[in-house]
Symmetry: D5
Subunit: 114 residues, 10 copies
């Protein structure tokens, strides 16, 4: 369901290999076990092919996770899958960095190459 | 039109491969959709061949974007094209880092090699 | 309704004037106009009289604002009213610092003295 | 002319003395002598009486200075005059911090008390 | 029991009012409810009268709390009481700053004047 | 004995190579010679195969070292051995960074590849 | 001689008490004993009466010290005297912070009130 | 003996009250108990009367403590006594900030007013 | 002319490849166009062969540029040429980082390998 | 003579390649020319074979340089030689970073591989 929120626009320079990095330090979801909120920073980095992600739609896409209960590892892989499906990029990575819980922080990094 | 503003001077050490990096943290343009201002830092990094960019003319060139409505990705590629045309460098990259909008920041990086 | 979530415990040193400061950098609510999330840091600072605030209940109290649409100024005054009612402190202040929207940040500070 | 852009909303807690601080690190105007852009951070800090400033209108108000040629000292006093006229606050201060020109930075601070 | 661990030495300059500040960023105790460890920084600041605290004995005194289950507020007041009893200072304050639990940090500050 | 405290959960994306990094800045053990406490930050970084480490069990596992007397080098290798045995990861590294003793700090880094 | 370089312009808001602070981190003069260069940051802070200092002329005024051999304390007092003579301000202070020589740094602060 | 190393020069502006601050982050002495080196930062701040301290002589004065075994509190008071005797200032303070030993840092501050 | 100021001393470990890096954040020269001062940091990094540079002579060499009008790119290459001629190193690089002019900073990096 | 101060202990994991890094920011020696103290940070990084360095003996070893007059380059190579002789490591590097003298800092780095 969430994937449909994502919108793209045509890459004006498809013949050139260049990098787009988008950082959202205001991501929040809910721990599936305790029901308490998690906070994190999501960094997406990709080389576009035909399409670029529209930033406002990405913001709304992230907003969909606000009340969803989902593990760190699964959010990270899920965002990668959704963005790869919609953008069909040359390559794309997702890094999620989570605020400390019980004094411990976790970071998850996934890479995709076409 | 803007490209003509850029001036160059002769590279005194054309036989030597060295790197020049120029950072402008005071770039501003206008969002083509909302008409509101965008703010960013532009970093140009190049290996000169016969010519070096004259800094004051680069400042005036950047000033031309002040009231132009143009997307992040297109500004970045446009600046690369203009500088490559004028400098004919051995290599050149442009990185644009944009201040947050809706909590989200974007960075675009383009590389050119002769 | 939310005020009832707050729990207190007896101050073991009621005859002594001392300061307790509690900082929550993971507060989030929703903009009443756009429906988009706001993020902020809430700092409560008080001199206890008979009671101290129980931290876990404060966390759940903050959690109640997660999907509420409410202005910065009103959240700040509301938290002050609720904590003063429950703690009956000698003095108490609430400071809310909000992440940038459109490049602009706001901080609201309210003080109460018995 | 610019003053009319500013909008206010009713202060819900007019009987309470509290502080609102609004920081805009993305202000830009033009030097009246050279015509080149100036960049600065504008901090407004006030104790509201009956009205609070609406943030979006403040953003558009600042935007009006984008292509205006005006000295640091006059911008600072002008913003103070406009905000005092519109808000009729208990007190208000404006601080403008300007990026270096020729290696030198300037900060101007003006205070108003009713 | 713990108080006896603290040792003092004679103040060589008792006629002069001066300040000694001692910071220990490596304090740890145990939460009396969950049994999990807490970590904090303890800052003691005092004007000596006849005695100064011996640093090594203070280190061993802090070490006694390692496996004790005790609330933030009570540790802070307890350390103040112990140091005042042993040092009989002109004035003394204790500040304890605790690492985040559930994203929330607490700081407690107590002052004593003879 | 300690190794049994560690719990794992199934990796939902076992076919994909991705990285999980877990940082605990609140580790403490005891010097086997002086009996005084040591403080450090433990960073675990691994590529999961079939299993991921459960964060809460890792926290309790670290807690087991609280009163154990053990050298820096041995703690680091011991944590690596335990995590490799329980997770059977594709690769895993452990870095331990210790607070200064006598003005000197030590960092130990161990890598494992399947 | 140097004092004549300083230029002023009319204060548009002479009836209002406000503060102007000007920081120059690129000041350099010469040690009168060794002949080697000194580097420092000069901060001027004043409440204008009828006149404000023109920034470009201040830059040229500072430039006059480039090859002058003069002690830290005397430069600071000399700049105060010159600016007070030219501006006739309500109040003015000069702070000079010098880069380390032999590992030691010095800061000199002078205040003037009309 | 050490006091004689200190040299002064005439204050050119004795009629004016101004502040001189001198920071030495490279002070070292020896612990009188363990014989091991201590490291600290010494900050002297004074309002001169007839004399100013000559920086090079102060450096040599500090150098005299290099192999002396002396407690933090006594060094601080000793430096104050020596500088007051030599400078006869209007006021003077000495602050010594010591690097951590066993994880604990100490700062000592002494003030003198004529 | 300037090159003769540079002095070297014999490398005691000529058979071993090791790196020496020397940073001078207090370099200043003059803009050949405006006559106004430029400020920069010069970093030299080299692998010595038979000789090492004597630091005091390097300081005096840099001092020679104080009133010379010369472009960023040429200073950088000139320093490289002089040091290579005097040291005959295995390799050597010069990086010059210049303070902002008109909001824009430049960095120039040149490498030499024997 | 100094080398004998260094003590080692058996590496419990000799079959595994891992890295130990030891940082001492409190090193001091004496300039062989001026007789004035130098201050630096010494970083040793090695892959142990049969032996690990005992930290307390390393501290005493460094202490031996306190009143020795020796150049930066020679200290660095000397420490490398001593540690390699005593540890017989798989590889080892020494980096010395020196505090500024005359505004200029130097860093020396030496590597050894068995």
């Amino acid at each position: 369901m969430k994937r449909e929120i994502l919108e793209v626009f045509d890459n004006t320079y498809p013949q050139r290999e260049y990098i787009i990095e988008i950082v959202n330090p205001e991501f929040t979801s809910v721990c599936p076990i305790t029901g308490l909120p998690d906070f994190g920073t999501i960094t997406v980095r990709y080389v576009p092919d035909r399409s670029c992600i529209e930033l406002k739609s990405l913001k709304y896409y992230y907003f969909e996770f606000r009340n969803a209960g989902i593990f760190y590892e699964n959010i990270t892989n899920r965002i990668l899958d959704d963005l790869v499906a919609v953008l069909e990029p040359r390559s794309l990575s997702v890094k999620t960095e989570w605020k400390a819980r019980g004094g411990i922080t976790e970071t998850v990094t996934v890479d995709y190459t076409a």
